[in-house]
């Protein structure tokens, strides 16, 4: 039987939200661990930030920021669907959230380099 694929905006919004959520959940313990270094072993922390100057790491950080912003804006979109009166411009909302996420990433990239 033919595999049906939902190729509409809100489906992709769901996929992005789920993938970004998993990525953030995996990232957080690492983030907490590194932050502990800032107080307990500042020299190690500064060594870490030196390593993080590498362009590839900066890019990965930027990707993380985009994922965070995507999860945030997608989440706000969901909160609007679930709690506010319905609005019909759903597809535009998805486009706006995507735009804001990329903008956040870009702003971070510009500030960290």
């Amino acid at each position: 039987m033919s595999g049906q694929h939902r190729n509409h905006a809100n489906y992709w919004a769901f996929i992005v939200h789920r993938v970004s959520g998993i990525a953030l959940a995996l990232f957080l313990p690492v983030h907490f661990q590194v932050l502990l270094l800032a107080v307990r072993k500042p020299a190690s922390f500064d060594g870490f930030t030196a390593w993080a100057e590498a362009p590839l790491v900066k890019l990965a950080e930027t990707a993380l920021i985009v994922l965070l912003a995507a999860h945030l804006t997608g989440g706000l979109r969901l909160l609007a669907i679930e709690f506010l009166p319905w609005r019909d411009w759903q597809k535009s909302v998805v486009a706006i959230t995507a735009g804001i996420s990329l903008a956040a990433g870009l702003i971070y990239l510009l500030n960290v380099t």
Partner: protein, 121 residues
């Protein structure tokens, strides 16, 4: 969080996730803004400690942030594990509870460290 799938629990978890989402909505915007400012000209341990350490407002902010995360992320993972794996409901609930405890403890340790920099005051 026990293994039984009663509807009351599902509804409450849904609400807890949405409320924590609202808190995180604000917290993440503040956090992202702060990070973008802080990374200008590089980031050092001393800079973070100087900005956050012992500051009661920041400590309170991050304490709330950590609690919201420890509620929000595990409930999200619960949906994913239920839908995309063949783990039993009991097993899923146990894993998510462990994840919540893990995040809470790790986050608590960081917040506590920064709190103690101010001499605990």
């Amino acid at each position: 969080m026990s293994g039984d799938r009663n509807v009351q629990t599902e509804a409450r978890l849904w609400l807890a996730q949405r409320v924590s989402a609202m808190i995180l909505g604000l917290a993440v915007v503040v956090h992202l803004g702060t990070i973008i400012v802080a990374v200008q000209g590089g980031l050092s341990a001393a800079e973070i400690v100087g900005r956050i350490g012992g500051n009661p407002l920041w400590i309170a902010f991050y304490a709330v942030f950590v609690i919201a995360i420890a509620v929000h992320a595990p409930i999200g993972l619960r949906s994913i594990l239920n839908e995309m794996t063949s783990l039993s409901p009991r097993r899923v609930d146990l894993l998510c509870f462990i994840a919540a405890a893990f995040l809470a403890v790790m986050g608590y340790r960081v917040v506590r460290d920064f709190y103690l920099i101010g001499g605990g005051a």
